[in-house]
Protein backbone atom coordinates (compact mmCIF):
# COMPACT_ATOMS: atom_id res chain seq x y z
CA UNK A 1 0.00 0.00 0.00
CA UNK A 2 0.99 3.60 -0.33
CA UNK A 3 -2.10 5.57 0.70
CA UNK A 4 -2.45 7.00 4.16
CA UNK A 5 -3.86 4.40 6.60
CA UNK A 6 -6.57 4.99 9.20
CA UNK A 7 -4.99 7.09 11.95
CA UNK A 8 -7.22 5.73 14.70
CA UNK A 9 -5.61 2.31 15.00
CA UNK A 10 -2.73 1.36 17.29
CA UNK A 11 0.84 1.18 16.03
CA UNK A 12 1.18 -1.84 13.74
CA UNK A 13 2.25 -4.99 15.61
CA UNK A 14 5.98 -5.46 15.47
CA UNK A 15 6.77 -1.74 15.35
CA UNK A 16 10.21 -1.57 16.96
CA UNK A 17 10.49 1.79 18.72
CA UNK A 18 14.19 1.19 19.37
CA UNK A 19 14.67 1.44 15.59
CA UNK A 20 11.71 3.38 14.19
CA UNK A 21 11.18 7.09 14.68
CA UNK A 22 7.45 7.56 15.09
CA UNK A 23 5.93 11.05 15.20
CA UNK A 24 2.48 11.22 16.68
CA UNK A 25 0.10 13.88 17.91
CA UNK A 26 -3.27 15.54 17.90
CA UNK A 27 -4.91 18.38 16.01
CA UNK A 28 -6.88 20.71 18.28
CA UNK A 29 -8.96 23.88 18.00
CA UNK A 30 -9.67 25.69 21.29
CA UNK A 31 -8.51 22.56 23.09
CA UNK A 32 -11.05 20.32 21.29
CA UNK A 33 -9.84 17.53 18.97
CA UNK A 34 -10.24 18.14 15.23
CA UNK A 35 -10.99 15.03 13.20
CA UNK A 36 -10.70 15.00 9.41
CA UNK A 37 -7.83 17.51 9.33
CA UNK A 38 -5.18 17.06 6.64
CA UNK A 39 -1.85 16.78 8.46
CA UNK A 40 1.27 17.29 6.34
CA UNK A 41 4.76 16.32 7.45
CA UNK A 42 7.42 18.71 6.13
CA UNK A 43 11.14 18.02 6.50
CA UNK A 44 13.85 20.39 7.75
CA UNK A 45 13.93 22.20 4.41
CA UNK A 46 10.14 22.61 4.30
CA UNK A 47 9.83 19.83 1.72
CA UNK A 48 6.63 17.79 1.80
CA UNK A 49 7.19 14.28 3.12
CA UNK A 50 3.78 12.75 3.84
CA UNK A 51 0.16 13.54 4.58
CA UNK A 52 -2.53 11.79 6.61
CA UNK A 53 -6.07 12.62 7.71
CA UNK A 54 -6.53 12.97 11.49
CA UNK A 55 -8.78 10.44 13.21
CA UNK A 56 -12.09 11.37 14.87
CA UNK A 57 -10.11 12.08 18.05
CA UNK A 58 -7.68 14.33 16.15
CA UNK A 59 -4.86 11.78 16.16
CA UNK A 60 -2.16 11.34 13.52
CA UNK A 61 1.15 9.49 13.14
CA UNK A 62 4.15 9.28 10.82
CA UNK A 63 7.07 6.90 10.46
CA UNK A 64 9.96 9.25 9.89
CA UNK A 65 13.62 9.58 10.80
CA UNK A 66 15.47 11.57 13.44
CA UNK A 67 15.50 15.28 12.65
CA UNK A 68 13.47 18.45 12.85
CA UNK A 69 10.01 18.25 11.34
CA UNK A 70 7.14 20.63 10.75
CA UNK A 71 3.60 19.34 11.20
CA UNK A 72 1.16 21.43 9.18
CA UNK A 73 -2.60 20.92 9.57
CA UNK A 74 -5.36 22.12 7.23
CA UNK A 75 -8.95 21.88 8.41
CA UNK A 76 -12.35 23.48 8.15
CA UNK A 77 -11.64 24.96 11.60
CA UNK A 78 -8.52 26.67 10.22
CA UNK A 79 -4.86 25.90 9.64
CA UNK A 80 -1.85 25.68 11.93
CA UNK A 81 1.55 24.15 12.42
CA UNK A 82 4.01 22.92 15.02
CA UNK A 83 7.68 21.99 14.99
CA UNK A 84 8.81 18.65 16.38
CA UNK A 85 12.40 17.68 17.04
CA UNK A 86 13.10 13.95 17.09
CA UNK A 87 16.62 13.45 18.40
CA UNK A 88 16.53 9.69 17.87
CA UNK A 89 14.30 6.64 17.37
CA UNK A 90 11.23 6.25 19.57
CA UNK A 91 7.83 7.87 19.96
CA UNK A 92 7.70 11.67 19.66
CA UNK A 93 4.52 13.70 20.21
CA UNK A 94 3.23 17.16 19.41
CA UNK A 95 -0.05 19.02 19.44
CA UNK A 96 -1.01 21.13 16.42
CA UNK A 97 -3.42 23.98 17.18
CA UNK A 98 -5.51 25.26 14.29
CA UNK A 99 -7.41 28.53 14.17
Amino acid sequence: MCGAPDQDVQLPPGTDLSKETVLTGKVVADGEPVGGAYVRLLDGTGEFTAEVVSSASGGFRFFAAPGTWTLRALSRAGNGQAVLHAEGPGLHSAEVAVA
Binding site: G3, A4, D6, D43, E51, A65, R72, R76
Partner: protein, 280 residues
Protein backbone atom coordinates in the same frame (compact mmCIF):
# COMPACT_ATOMS: atom_id res chain seq x y z
CA UNK B 1 -4.38 18.82 -24.39
CA UNK B 2 -4.88 21.80 -22.16
CA UNK B 3 -5.85 22.30 -18.55
CA UNK B 4 -9.59 22.56 -19.42
CA UNK B 5 -9.48 19.19 -21.18
CA UNK B 6 -7.88 17.52 -18.18
CA UNK B 7 -9.15 19.17 -15.01
CA UNK B 8 -12.47 20.33 -13.63
CA UNK B 9 -12.73 22.73 -10.72
CA UNK B 10 -14.69 21.96 -7.56
CA UNK B 11 -17.16 24.71 -8.55
CA UNK B 12 -17.76 23.10 -11.94
CA UNK B 13 -18.15 19.70 -10.33
CA UNK B 14 -20.67 20.92 -7.76
CA UNK B 15 -22.76 22.55 -10.51
CA UNK B 16 -22.65 19.37 -12.60
CA UNK B 17 -23.55 16.81 -9.95
CA UNK B 18 -26.41 14.69 -11.23
CA UNK B 19 -25.99 15.79 -14.85
CA UNK B 20 -26.76 13.09 -17.39
CA UNK B 21 -23.68 11.88 -19.21
CA UNK B 22 -21.28 12.90 -16.41
CA UNK B 23 -20.16 10.19 -14.00
CA UNK B 24 -18.18 11.06 -10.87
CA UNK B 25 -15.93 8.27 -9.64
CA UNK B 26 -14.14 8.23 -6.28
CA UNK B 27 -10.95 6.17 -6.46
CA UNK B 28 -8.70 5.24 -3.59
CA UNK B 29 -6.52 2.52 -2.21
CA UNK B 30 -8.63 2.45 0.93
CA UNK B 31 -12.24 3.33 0.14
CA UNK B 32 -13.52 3.80 3.69
CA UNK B 33 -13.62 7.57 3.08
CA UNK B 34 -16.18 6.97 0.30
CA UNK B 35 -18.35 4.95 2.66
CA UNK B 36 -18.29 7.80 5.19
CA UNK B 37 -19.48 10.32 2.60
CA UNK B 38 -18.91 10.88 -1.11
CA UNK B 39 -19.90 13.33 -3.83
CA UNK B 40 -23.63 12.91 -4.47
CA UNK B 41 -24.05 10.38 -7.29
CA UNK B 42 -20.41 9.28 -7.31
CA UNK B 43 -19.55 5.61 -7.77
CA UNK B 44 -16.73 3.90 -5.89
CA UNK B 45 -13.63 2.30 -7.37
CA UNK B 46 -11.10 0.51 -5.24
CA UNK B 47 -7.58 0.85 -6.66
CA UNK B 48 -6.45 -2.49 -5.23
CA UNK B 49 -9.45 -4.67 -6.05
CA UNK B 50 -10.94 -2.92 -9.12
CA UNK B 51 -7.97 -1.51 -11.02
CA UNK B 52 -5.39 -4.23 -10.32
CA UNK B 53 -5.53 -7.83 -11.48
CA UNK B 54 -6.58 -9.96 -8.47
CA UNK B 55 -3.99 -12.66 -9.21
CA UNK B 56 -1.11 -11.30 -11.29
CA UNK B 57 0.91 -8.25 -10.38
CA UNK B 58 -0.51 -6.15 -13.22
CA UNK B 59 -3.21 -3.67 -14.05
CA UNK B 60 -6.57 -5.14 -15.05
CA UNK B 61 -6.77 -6.60 -18.55
CA UNK B 62 -8.97 -5.12 -21.28
CA UNK B 63 -11.85 -7.58 -20.58
CA UNK B 64 -11.53 -6.91 -16.84
CA UNK B 65 -11.61 -3.14 -17.47
CA UNK B 66 -14.68 -3.54 -19.70
CA UNK B 67 -16.44 -5.62 -17.03
CA UNK B 68 -15.57 -3.06 -14.35
CA UNK B 69 -16.93 -0.06 -16.26
CA UNK B 70 -20.00 -1.99 -17.37
CA UNK B 71 -20.69 -3.00 -13.77
CA UNK B 72 -20.27 0.59 -12.54
CA UNK B 73 -22.70 1.85 -15.17
CA UNK B 74 -20.19 3.88 -17.19
CA UNK B 75 -20.82 4.15 -20.94
CA UNK B 76 -18.25 4.81 -23.67
CA UNK B 77 -19.62 8.31 -24.32
CA UNK B 78 -19.87 9.37 -20.65
CA UNK B 79 -17.65 12.12 -19.29
CA UNK B 80 -15.86 10.53 -16.34
CA UNK B 81 -14.65 12.79 -13.52
CA UNK B 82 -12.22 11.05 -11.18
CA UNK B 83 -11.31 12.19 -7.69
CA UNK B 84 -9.96 10.74 -4.46
CA UNK B 85 -8.02 11.28 -1.27
CA UNK B 86 -4.24 11.03 -0.94
CA UNK B 87 -3.90 14.15 -3.10
CA UNK B 88 -5.58 12.43 -6.04
CA UNK B 89 -2.73 9.90 -6.44
CA UNK B 90 -4.99 6.93 -7.03
CA UNK B 91 -7.44 9.01 -9.06
CA UNK B 92 -4.48 10.02 -11.25
CA UNK B 93 -3.54 6.35 -11.59
CA UNK B 94 -7.13 5.59 -12.65
CA UNK B 95 -6.98 8.53 -15.09
CA UNK B 96 -3.85 7.00 -16.65
CA UNK B 97 -5.56 3.60 -16.82
CA UNK B 98 -8.71 5.11 -18.41
CA UNK B 99 -6.44 6.78 -21.00
CA UNK B 100 -4.54 3.53 -21.52
CA UNK B 101 -7.80 1.77 -22.40
CA UNK B 102 -8.90 4.65 -24.62
CA UNK B 103 -11.78 6.23 -22.69
CA UNK B 104 -12.69 9.31 -24.75
CA UNK B 105 -13.54 11.85 -22.08
CA UNK B 106 -11.94 11.53 -18.67
CA UNK B 107 -11.04 14.33 -16.28
CA UNK B 108 -9.67 14.84 -12.79
CA UNK B 109 -11.35 16.92 -10.10
CA UNK B 110 -8.62 19.45 -9.25
CA UNK B 111 -7.84 19.22 -5.54
CA UNK B 112 -9.72 15.94 -5.15
CA UNK B 113 -11.44 15.04 -1.91
CA UNK B 114 -9.23 17.29 0.18
CA UNK B 115 -10.23 20.56 -1.46
CA UNK B 116 -13.86 19.41 -1.62
CA UNK B 117 -13.87 18.75 2.14
CA UNK B 118 -11.93 21.90 3.06
CA UNK B 119 -14.39 23.94 0.98
CA UNK B 120 -17.26 22.36 2.95
CA UNK B 121 -19.00 21.06 -0.17
CA UNK B 122 -21.77 18.43 0.03
CA UNK B 123 -21.06 14.76 0.76
CA UNK B 124 -23.61 12.00 1.08
CA UNK B 125 -23.79 8.40 2.26
CA UNK B 126 -26.69 7.68 -0.14
CA UNK B 127 -26.04 4.58 -2.22
CA UNK B 128 -25.42 5.37 -5.88
CA UNK B 129 -27.39 3.18 -8.27
CA UNK B 130 -26.48 3.18 -11.95
CA UNK B 131 -27.78 0.91 -14.68
CA UNK B 132 -25.08 -1.46 -15.94
CA UNK B 133 -23.72 -0.76 -19.41
CA UNK B 134 -21.93 -2.73 -22.06
CA UNK B 135 -18.58 -0.98 -22.18
CA UNK B 136 -16.04 -1.55 -24.94
CA UNK B 137 -12.41 -0.62 -24.26
CA UNK B 138 -9.63 -0.01 -26.79
CA UNK B 139 -6.45 -2.05 -26.98
CA UNK B 140 -4.01 -0.73 -24.33
CA UNK B 141 -2.01 2.30 -25.48
CA UNK B 142 1.49 1.19 -24.52
CA UNK B 143 2.95 4.54 -25.58
CA UNK B 144 2.10 5.74 -22.06
CA UNK B 145 3.23 2.65 -20.09
CA UNK B 146 6.86 1.76 -19.37
CA UNK B 147 8.11 -1.72 -18.48
CA UNK B 148 11.25 -2.62 -16.51
CA UNK B 149 13.58 -3.30 -19.46
CA UNK B 150 12.79 0.11 -20.92
CA UNK B 151 13.73 1.69 -17.61
CA UNK B 152 17.14 0.02 -17.61
CA UNK B 153 17.64 1.10 -21.26
CA UNK B 154 16.62 4.64 -20.34
CA UNK B 155 19.55 5.10 -17.94
CA UNK B 156 21.61 8.07 -19.16
CA UNK B 157 19.43 8.49 -22.26
CA UNK B 158 15.87 9.48 -21.29
CA UNK B 159 14.53 11.72 -18.55
CA UNK B 160 14.01 9.38 -15.62
CA UNK B 161 11.89 11.29 -13.14
CA UNK B 162 11.77 9.81 -9.66
CA UNK B 163 8.85 11.50 -7.94
CA UNK B 164 9.31 9.98 -4.47
CA UNK B 165 10.36 12.03 -1.44
CA UNK B 166 14.07 12.97 -1.17
CA UNK B 167 14.61 10.40 1.61
CA UNK B 168 13.16 7.58 -0.50
CA UNK B 169 15.25 8.71 -3.49
CA UNK B 170 18.50 8.79 -1.52
CA UNK B 171 17.81 5.36 -0.04
CA UNK B 172 17.35 6.53 3.55
CA UNK B 173 13.81 5.10 3.72
CA UNK B 174 11.86 2.60 1.61
CA UNK B 175 8.31 3.94 1.86
CA UNK B 176 6.63 7.27 2.46
CA UNK B 177 6.78 8.45 6.06
CA UNK B 178 3.14 7.71 6.82
CA UNK B 179 3.87 3.97 6.44
CA UNK B 180 5.94 1.43 8.37
CA UNK B 181 9.32 0.77 6.73
CA UNK B 182 9.18 -3.01 6.40
CA UNK B 183 9.91 -3.49 2.70
CA UNK B 184 12.22 -6.19 1.45
CA UNK B 185 13.65 -4.57 -1.68
CA UNK B 186 16.87 -2.60 -1.98
CA UNK B 187 16.80 1.16 -1.36
CA UNK B 188 18.01 3.80 -3.80
CA UNK B 189 17.07 5.03 -7.26
CA UNK B 190 17.66 4.30 -10.94
CA UNK B 191 21.04 5.79 -11.93
CA UNK B 192 20.72 9.10 -13.80
CA UNK B 193 17.20 9.70 -12.43
CA UNK B 194 16.33 13.19 -11.29
CA UNK B 195 14.33 13.59 -8.09
CA UNK B 196 11.34 15.86 -8.56
CA UNK B 197 8.89 14.89 -5.81
CA UNK B 198 5.25 14.77 -6.98
CA UNK B 199 4.39 17.19 -4.18
CA UNK B 200 6.26 20.03 -5.89
CA UNK B 201 3.61 19.92 -8.62
CA UNK B 202 0.74 20.49 -6.19
CA UNK B 203 -0.47 23.25 -3.93
CA UNK B 204 -1.17 22.63 -0.26
CA UNK B 205 -4.91 22.17 -0.97
CA UNK B 206 -4.15 19.41 -3.48
CA UNK B 207 -4.78 21.43 -6.65
CA UNK B 208 -2.17 21.38 -9.40
CA UNK B 209 0.16 24.38 -9.65
CA UNK B 210 -0.22 26.66 -12.68
CA UNK B 211 1.24 25.65 -16.04
CA UNK B 212 3.83 28.45 -15.77
CA UNK B 213 4.93 27.31 -12.30
CA UNK B 214 5.10 23.70 -13.46
CA UNK B 215 7.19 24.45 -16.56
CA UNK B 216 9.60 26.47 -14.46
CA UNK B 217 9.80 23.75 -11.80
CA UNK B 218 10.80 20.95 -14.20
CA UNK B 219 13.22 23.18 -16.12
CA UNK B 220 14.91 24.17 -12.86
CA UNK B 221 15.32 20.57 -11.78
CA UNK B 222 17.12 19.57 -14.96
CA UNK B 223 14.21 18.12 -16.94
CA UNK B 224 15.02 18.08 -20.68
CA UNK B 225 11.86 18.81 -22.71
CA UNK B 226 13.53 17.42 -25.82
CA UNK B 227 13.92 13.89 -24.47
CA UNK B 228 11.44 11.07 -23.88
CA UNK B 229 10.52 10.56 -20.24
CA UNK B 230 9.76 7.76 -17.81
CA UNK B 231 8.24 8.69 -14.44
CA UNK B 232 8.28 6.31 -11.49
CA UNK B 233 7.73 6.22 -7.74
CA UNK B 234 7.17 3.24 -5.43
CA UNK B 235 3.93 1.65 -6.70
CA UNK B 236 3.11 3.88 -9.67
CA UNK B 237 0.40 6.12 -8.28
CA UNK B 238 2.46 9.19 -7.34
CA UNK B 239 4.16 8.90 -10.74
CA UNK B 240 0.71 8.87 -12.36
CA UNK B 241 0.18 12.27 -10.74
CA UNK B 242 3.39 13.51 -12.38
CA UNK B 243 2.49 11.75 -15.66
CA UNK B 244 -0.72 13.82 -15.69
CA UNK B 245 1.37 16.97 -15.21
CA UNK B 246 3.99 16.22 -17.88
CA UNK B 247 1.88 14.52 -20.55
CA UNK B 248 -1.58 15.98 -20.03
CA UNK B 249 -1.13 19.47 -18.55
CA UNK B 250 2.21 20.49 -20.09
CA UNK B 251 1.74 18.42 -23.24
CA UNK B 252 5.24 16.92 -23.36
CA UNK B 253 5.46 14.05 -25.84
CA UNK B 254 6.57 10.51 -25.16
CA UNK B 255 6.04 10.46 -21.41
CA UNK B 256 5.47 7.03 -19.88
CA UNK B 257 4.41 5.96 -16.42
CA UNK B 258 6.43 3.04 -15.01
CA UNK B 259 3.72 1.46 -12.88
CA UNK B 260 6.05 -1.32 -11.68
CA UNK B 261 8.09 1.46 -10.07
CA UNK B 262 10.48 0.91 -7.17
CA UNK B 263 8.70 -2.12 -5.73
CA UNK B 264 9.58 -3.88 -8.99
CA UNK B 265 12.87 -2.21 -9.91
CA UNK B 266 14.33 -2.45 -6.38
CA UNK B 267 13.60 -6.18 -6.36
CA UNK B 268 15.25 -7.06 -9.70
CA UNK B 269 18.47 -9.08 -9.65
CA UNK B 270 21.50 -7.30 -11.02
CA UNK B 271 20.06 -3.99 -12.22
CA UNK B 272 22.07 -0.82 -11.52
CA UNK B 273 21.09 1.16 -8.42
CA UNK B 274 22.44 4.44 -7.15
CA UNK B 275 22.33 5.72 -3.56
CA UNK B 276 22.48 9.26 -2.27
CA UNK B 277 21.01 12.56 -3.31
CA UNK B 278 22.21 12.23 -6.92
CA UNK B 279 22.66 15.52 -8.72
CA UNK B 280 24.19 14.53 -12.02
Amino acid sequence: MSRQDVLVTADWAEKNLGTDGIVFVEVDEDTTAYDGGHLPGAVKMNWTTDLQDPLLRDIVSKPQFEALLSRKGIANDDTVVLYGGNNNWFAAYAYWEFKLYGHADVKLLDGGRKKWELDGRPLTTDVTERTPTSYTAQEPDLSIRAFRDEVVEAIDTKNLVDVRSPDEFSGKILAPAHLPQEQSQRPGHVPSAINIPWSKAANEDGTFRSDEELRELYAQEGYDEGRPTIAYCRIGERSSHTWVVLHELLGYRDVKNYDGSWTEYGSLIGVPIELGAGGR
